[in-house]
């Protein structure tokens, strides 16, 4: 198997414990874009502490699935319960879930008119009502964690892609989320910047964060995930623990996909 970003470092698994507590429960969830049936009968349980990698060909609905979990997309049938709160059109529930769930986007989506520090303190100050000084201390803590405290007073446009994505991760962490969603966090990055973002994500996993990650980084999946989900045509085709998933895929669709992304 050849993987340009194979993870070679030692992973500290001491805090990576999957508990029995359910973090996300999705039952019989369906979603349509107009006539198009994007997500078909999704059933999924995510326990606290799980690190799940979702992969699949483009258009398979994997991004849509995790965007439903903080209701950036609305589902039309079935049930999504996040941390005991069901997602309905009730705005209070949605805001509650969103403040507990952090999200990292493919294109970073930092706020270009605010400094790095302001990007990180905005939501804690306005949503969590934390005093500015305290929010700034927290922000600096997480910016140090993603190794860019010295950039705090620059604007996003002055940073490289990898740095911006690490700021985006820090921005999410400042809300002290219990679950993190990653929507192809490395797909828009130059190859040499992918590693720095993956390292940050691995550290997060080592601290026991519940993570759902849509990615094509199979090295990351093998090193960190405790479950890999393969999606195609809006449905879950196969899920398994990484070793089994990569070495012994069951369905033909999965085999084809793996051969295409790994087998050059």
């Amino acid at each position: 198997m050849s993987d340009p970003h194979a993870i070679t470092r030692e992973i500290d698994r001491s805090h990576m414990q999957v508990s029995d507590e359910v973090a996300i429960q999705i039952t019989n969830m369906n979603k349509w874009y107009g006539q198009f049936h994007v997500l078909r009968d999704i059933n999924m349980t995510v326990n606290r502490g799980e690190r799940i990698v979702i992969c699949g060909p483009s258009g398979s609905g994997k991004s849509t699935l995790i965007r439903c979990i903080n209701r950036l997309e609305e589902h039309q049938a079935g049930q999504i319960v996040v941390d005991g709160t069901e997602l309905t059109s009730d705005l209070k529930n949605i805001d509650k879930v969103r403040s507990e769930v952090g999200m990292v986007f493919q294109h970073f989506n930092l706020f270009p008119h605010l400094t790095i520090l302001e990007n990180c303190t905005l939501a804690p100050i306005w949503v969590r009502k934390i005093p500015r000084k305290e929010a700034e201390e927290t922000a600096m803590h997480y910016l140090s964690k993603v190794k860019i405290p010295e950039q705090a007073h620059k604007y996003p446009g002055q940073l490289s892609g990898g740095q911006q994505q690490r700021v985006a991760i820090a921005r999410s962490l400042c809300m002290r989320p219990r679950i993190m969603l990653f929507d192809e966090p490395t797909s828009a990055l130059d190859p040499e910047m992918i590693k720095e973002v993956l390292d940050t994500m691995i550290e997060l996993a080592e601290e026991g964060m519940t993570m759902l990650c849509v990615t094509h980084e199979m090295g990351f999946a093998q090193a960190v995930a405790n479950r890999v989900i393969f999606m195609d045509q809006g449905q879950v085709v196969e899920q398994n623990e990484p070793k089994e998933f990569f070495n012994n895929p069951q369905s033909d669709r999965t085999k084809l996909f793996l051969s295409q992304i790994l087998g050059h």
Binding site: F105, N109, P112, H113
Partner: protein, 492 residues
């Protein structure tokens, strides 16, 4: 016989001056004026045209007359100085009638009030225009204060008045010096505090311009207090949106039904006030500024709300916004001004005698807000979807996301369009001449030219008014460029 092409340089070449054809003025002329045959011809034609214009206008400007009492006197002076048949500008009309161009028919003994209001306007604007730049803020306040005091001294010398043996002009200068000195001190020591004055300025400006009982503006301000109190009382049970609505309704009831009784009673108990000036007496640039500045200040927030309404998911809000914008944009401003002067009266409750200037301001505001809304909608559309999603994902609610993330970026993109709208609006204030108000261009000039001394004067008043308009609009344009530079964030 040369065997090989081996070459070793022994001495490095020194840099040389470029040939004259590549240097300075000659290069510039070649590249810009004579780069091709067509360009050469156009350059020569342009030069000839410029020469002809200057040849016609220059003697006229050079033969300017500033001291005369009538156009006939001007012509005599020019004929005497430069010979029979010479042309010359007669600026004496500006010298004699400048106060009408500035203030219209505002009572002369009260000229200090609009002057003061004008100066205070810049003091109130400073913390908004130069937000976060405290040094410029302080300097602007100081400079405006000095200029205002100088203007007041000039006016008191031009129109000396005594009230009860006291020099009224000196009194006004003294009061202005105290007020402006105080404000400059505030700007120096606590620049942020100046924003309170900005909030208060509409009432202060209104009272300075129209005068009358002091209870009028206080009653109007009390309406805002009613709004805040009702909002705070109801927001706990009814939520922010309904609470705001309840506050607005309560304030409207106060303004329309209760205020006049309360202020009337207060005035009969404690008759404090100054001379009232009727709206008919307003004119010239005073009128243009009152309408222009008020409409600009009011149409920006209204335009923002309309732009958001047009993009709203709520069908009713969306329909109302679209309807308003399309209707207002589809109707000529002049129609709306006629509506203001004639029709609006029919729709208002009986016996409500709405001031004509106020009616014009309201409709000009609507007109401008519709355009601003579309400009801002363009800015909103230019924002990537990811910005909205990031704001949502962080748990910001709709208004927080709009205020903190969306509007700062959308407004920045829209600055050139917004300022264009404002410049257009300011120049459109001259259209109020059509409903009988004395705007500087048509209204006042007509009055001036109707006077027997100035009958037949043509260019000078229009050039004078045009120059002032140009100065105002050009300043706005420069300010917008400053703002764009200041808000520039992509340093790549």
């Amino acid at each position: 016989m040369q065997k090989s092409a081996t070459f070793v340089r022994k001495e490095m070449l020194q840099a040389q001056e470029p040939p004259t054809s590549e240097r300075g003025a000659i290069k510039w002329v070649r590249e810009n004026l004579f780069s091709s045959a067509l360009n050469s011809v156009l350059t020569i034609v342009g030069l000839v045209a410029a020469f002809l214009v200057i040849k016609a206008a220059l003697p006229w400007l050079l033969h300017s007359v500033w001291n005369a009492n009538s156009l006939g006197e001007c012509r005599d002076i020019i004929a005497a100085r430069y010979g029979e048949g010479a042309t010359g500008a007669c600026w004496a009309v500006v010298r004699e009638r400048w106060h009408q161009y500035l203030f219209g028919f505002y009572p002369q003994e009260l000229f200090w009030r609009p002057t003061m209001a004008f100066g205070l306007m810049f003091v109130a604007l400073a913390p908004v225009l130069y937000y976060g730049n405290q040094r410029v803020n302080t300097i602007m306040t100081g400079v405006v204060s000095i200029l205002t005091i100088l203007a007041l001294i000039g006016i008191s010398l031009a129109f000396p008045q005594t009230i009860g043996g006291v020099e009224a002009g000196a009194l006004a200068v003294l009061v202005a010096a105290l007020v402006l000195g105080g404000l400059t001190a505030v700007a120096w020591l606590a620049p942020k505090r100046l924003l309170y004055f900005t909030l208060l300025y509409p009432a202060v400006g209104f009272y300075l311009l129209w005068g009358g009982s002091i209870w009028g503006p206080i009653g109007t301000l009390a309406g805002f207090a009613v709004l805040v109190v009702v909002y705070n009382l109801t927001k706990g049970q009814l939520g922010v949106v309904v609470g705001t609505g309840a506050g607005v309704v309560a304030a409207a009831i106060w303004w329309l039904a209760i205020q006049s009784h309360v202020t009337g009673a207060l005035h009969s108990v404690l008759p404090l006030g100054t001379a009232h000036v009727d709206s008919d007496e307003f004119g010239g640039f005073l009128l243009a500024f009152v309408i222009g500045v008020t409409a600009i200040a009011a149409s920006l927030p209204m335009g923002i709300l309309l732009a958001l309404g047009r993009r709203s998911d709520m069908p009713l809000i969306k329909a109302l916004s679209v309807g308003f914008i399309e209707f207002i944009r589809g109707v000529p401003l002049i129609t709306m001004l006629f509506t203001a002067s004639l029709l609006l009266q029919y729709f208002l409750p009986p016996r409500s005698n709405f001031d004509l200037i106020l009616r014009v301001i309201i409709l000009v505001t609507f007109f401008s807000a519709a355009y601003i809304a579309e400009v801002i909608r363009g800015g909103l559309a230019a924002l990537p979807r990811g910005q909205y999603e990031a704001a949502d994902a962080l748990g910001l609610d709709y208004w927080q996301a709009q205020r903190l993330i969306v509007m700062p970026q959308a407004l920045k993109i829209s600055i050139p369009g917004i300022v264009s709208s404002f410049i257009g609006l300011f120049k459109d204030t001259t259209l109020v001449a059509l409903v009988g108000l004395h705007d500087p261009l048509q209204g006042v000039t007509k009055v001036v030219r109707a006077a027997i001394e100035w009958k037949g004067i043509y260019w000078e008043p229009y050039i004078f008014v045009g120059l002032i308009f140009f100065a105002c609009c050009f300043s706005m344009s420069r300010y917008s460029m400053y703002l764009e530079r200041k808000l520039k964030r992509d340093h790549r």
